[in-house]
């Protein structure tokens, strides 16, 4: 199979803690892959290790046929990886427009993508002059995803998009992510199994820093035993 991203047996330390102890992730092109697991299993660290924000000490990360482990974060991101972190990390001192403009990698990226972004998130258009610290949680999440779309990214790493959002918002967010998957490959970390199962085509489950099982989402949905064992009651 043709993979856009391959993570092979990475180990990552945060301080003295051995967080990842061998994680493998394979992400096919133009698909949505969900990384599942309990709290503290190492899902977020996996995303950060791919980006080099918490550099892995062992193992390989291959993006589009190129080894990227050991490279600096900004070099990795420049290859075409967009990141939507768990806490959204909206820049509070910047306006919504500046939050989008800062993500430009080439001059004029924002002008080019403006239309696509605002058809996807119509709400953002009327917030454009607002400062980042005046946004609600849902608006922040939309902005964080929109920011990852400004540059030409082939891979989007989205961490917990549904966290802390009202059900109505989750619905429209899922719609947006589904539309996005036509253009970019998406890796999703999601606690909410319902959301993940409706969005993702493939899944990987991480438990205590190790990837334990992966496959097609349609198989997992019917495998109540695995769901119960790895994700708790769901």
């Amino acid at each position: 199979m043709d993979y856009l991203l391959e993570v092979q047996g990475i180990h990552t330390f945060i301080g003295q803690y051995h967080i990842l102890q061998g994680v493998d992730v394979c992400v096919p092109r133009k698909s949505i892959t969900a990384i599942l697991g309990r709290n503290g299993a190492g899902k977020t660290t996996t995303l950060k290790s791919i980006l080099g924000l918490t550099p892995p000490t062992q193992g390989r990360v291959i993006f589009d046929g190129r080894e990227i482990h050991g490279m600096r974060s900004f070099d990795i991101a420049s290859l075409g990886i967009g990141f939507v972190p768990e806490n959204r990390a909206i820049f509070r001192d910047l306006s919504v427009e500046e939050n989008l403009k800062i993500a430009e990698r080439r001059k004029g990226d924002y002008a080019r993508k403006q239309e696509m972004i605002f058809t996807l998130f119509p709400d953002l258009n009327r917030l454009i002059a607002l400062s980042g610290n005046n946004l609600s949680g849902g608006q922040q999440q939309m902005l964080a995803i929109a920011r990852a779309l400004v540059a030409d990214n082939r891979l989007l790493l989205i961490d917990e998009p549904s966290e802390g959002l009202a059900p109505v918002l989750i619905e429209s967010l899922m719609e947006a992510i589904r539309k996005l998957s036509a253009e970019a490959t998406i890796v999703l970390v999601e606690q909410n199994f319902l959301v993940a199962s409706q969005l993702a085509e493939f899944y990987i489950i991480i438990e205590e820093g190790r990837s334990v099982i992966d496959g097609k989402m349609s198989d997992l949905v019917n495998d109540h035993d695995a769901i119960h064992r790895y994700l708790g009651a769901a």
């Binding site: 924000l53 490279m71 600096r72 974060s73 900004f74 991101a77 800062i102 993500a103 990698r105 540059a151």
Partner: protein, 514 residues
């Protein structure tokens, strides 16, 4: 609007109280005196602001407490003085500096060369060999490169004497020294040492370089330009010296400001890339390093310029005293270029009390526009909050770090050269000002740019008001006692203001709540 005021109620109440106190203190003086006090406060505040803003930019983005900032302020003043009073020394030094640092611009070439070398036991000591050879060569060559300077041992040739003579308009520059050995050999030796040193230093990082080193043509072009400028100035040394001594001192002063600021920028870039960068993850080491650097800087200044204090003469535009002075209107001032200006029947010193605040406001606005309107400013504001996320967007934050550090040090050096004609030059000028700047930042909010401006203004004003009342005295109500604040109360008052502000607003006036 209403929400804004409710959120910032304490800030506005504090500001109203402070303004009330200043009006109250101004009522105790005649108009001309409080105007002068206000202008002096603005002047001290402007210089403080130049140091404080650079410090807070660096601290906000890099999390580095640059304790050497006061020393860098002082070094800026001394460099500016050298350009202004001794242009011949300055011209002599340009080729030397150009040749010494030119090879460090070729980092791409050195990395590429380093990768061609095999990794074994012998090539591992190569970096040290390179650096030692460079140092040895420099020891041999540098004494043979003549720089017409001053002599700290001979009274008639000390910097203080030259400054005094320049102030009286009697400055005679000493005869230029000439080469005793072949200039080609000396310059070649310096270039060789520079190359060896740059190569040696780049070899240290060899094992860490993962990405392919690129032979960069732009680097070559810059290298050639720097060498060329060095050579041209070397050949045209006398002509340039004559030109600099011949022009109006106002222009020379502008050149001095420019050179001092750029030296600050260069010094900052050098300091960040060599010393600070390896220590980003170790804050305690940074503190020790910058504290040590500050002490080293002071000693270097003492070794070069001596321990005695001396003055920097004011440029021609601000030093006229003859007929038509003090000026009463802008036109008259421009015509006679007076050192003083009559404002509400009080004499205001144009340089100290008008020019310095003007430059302060200019820099405030310029940096504000840079922060608010440019992409670099956007990245800085974002980086202050979350560096990791900025990097995750594909932005090379490290390069922005270097730029901001250089900019911050440049601002301090600009402050130094601006303050020199009004404060004079001394080995300790940096320390007291740095303390002022820190207090100003604590008052205004550590990482807030407008906070740095507001805090500096308040510190400058309160100092000048206390100094003024030291002369007038404050009548204590219901008694016959007239209280005259003593000089030690001047710094104490700023600390008191800081304590009060911090008790009310723990993050400073404009600081962000964490």
């Amino acid at each position: 609007m209403k929400v804004y005021f409710r959120k910032n109620l304490l800030f506005w109440v504090t500001m109203v109280v402070l303004i009330f106190f200043f009006i109250l203190s101004a009522r105790g003086m005649p108009t001309n005196e409080w105007v002068i006090t206000l202008l002096r406060g603005l002047s001290v505040g402007s210089v403080t602001f130049l140091v404080a803003s650079g410090f807070s930019l660096i601290f906000g983005l890099l999390d580095v407490l640059n304790l050497a900032h006061g020393t860098l302020f002082m070094i800026g003043a001394y460099i500016g003085w050298t350009v202004y009073v001794r242009p011949d020394t300055f011209v002599d030094l340009i080729p030397l500096v150009a040749f010494l640092f030119s090879s460090f611009l070729l980092s791409g070439l050195w990395i590429e060369l380093g990768k061609r070398l095999p990794m074994n036991r012998w090539t591992r000591i190569l970096p040290w060999v390179g650096i030692l050879l460079a140092a040895g060569l420099l020891l041999l060559v540098l004494p043979r490169f003549p720089v017409t300077g001053w002599d700290l041992q001979v009274y008639s040739q000390t910097p203080g004497t030259y400054a005094f003579m320049a102030d009286q308009g009697l400055l005679v520059l000493p005869a230029a020294k000439s080469f005793e050995s072949s200039p080609v050999l000396v310059l070649g030796g310096i270039l060789m040492a520079s190359m060896l040193g740059a190569f040696g230093i780049s070899l240290f990082k060899r094992s860490k370089v993962l990405t392919a080193g690129r032979l960069n043509w732009r680097q070559f072009a810059v290298f050639i330009i720097v060498l060329g400028v060095g050579l041209i100035i070397f050949v045209a040394n006398d002509a340039l010296t004559n030109f600099l001594t011949g022009i109006n001192t106002t222009w020379l002063f502008l050149i001095a400001i420019l050179v001092a600021t750029l030296s600050g920028v260069g010094l900052g870039a050098l300091m960040e890339s060599t010393l600070i960068r390896p220590l980003y993850s170790r804050p305690i080491y940074q503190l020790m390093l910058t504290l040590g650097l500050s002490a080293v800087g002071i000693e270097v200044v003492r070794a070069i310029w001596g321990r005695t204090e001396f003055i920097m003469p004011k440029p021609a535009l601000f030093s006229g005293t003859g007929e038509g002075c003090p000026a009463t209107s802008l036109g008259a001032w421009l015509q006679h270029q007076c050192s003083t200006f009559l404002l509400f029947d009080g004499r205001v010193r144009v340089y100290n009390e008008i020019f310095i605040p003007l430059v302060g406001v200019l820099v405030l606005v310029a940096v504000w526009i840079l922060l608010k309107r440019s992409r670099l400013g956007m990245i800085i504001r974002a980086g202050v909050q979350d560096r990791g996320m900025v990097e995750a967007l594909g932005i090379n934050v490290r390069r922005v770090f270097s730029l901001v550090f250089a900019l911050g040090v440049g601002l301090a050096a600009l402050g130094g050269v601006l303050a020199a004609p009004s404060m004079g030059l001394s080995n300790v000028m940096g320390e007291s000002l740095f303390l002022n700047a820190l207090i100003a930042l604590a008052i205004g909010g550590l990482t807030s740019y407008p906070g740095a401006a507001l805090g500096s203004l308040l510190v400058g004003l309160i100092q000048q008001v206390i100094i003024k009342y030291g002369a007038i005295g404050i009548p204590i109500p219901f008694t016959d006692i007239i209280f005259k604040p003593t000089p030690p109360l001047v710094p104490a008052s700023t600390v008191l203001l800081m304590v009060i502000v911090l008790l009310i607003l723990p993050n400073g006036l404009l600081g962000k709540k964490e």
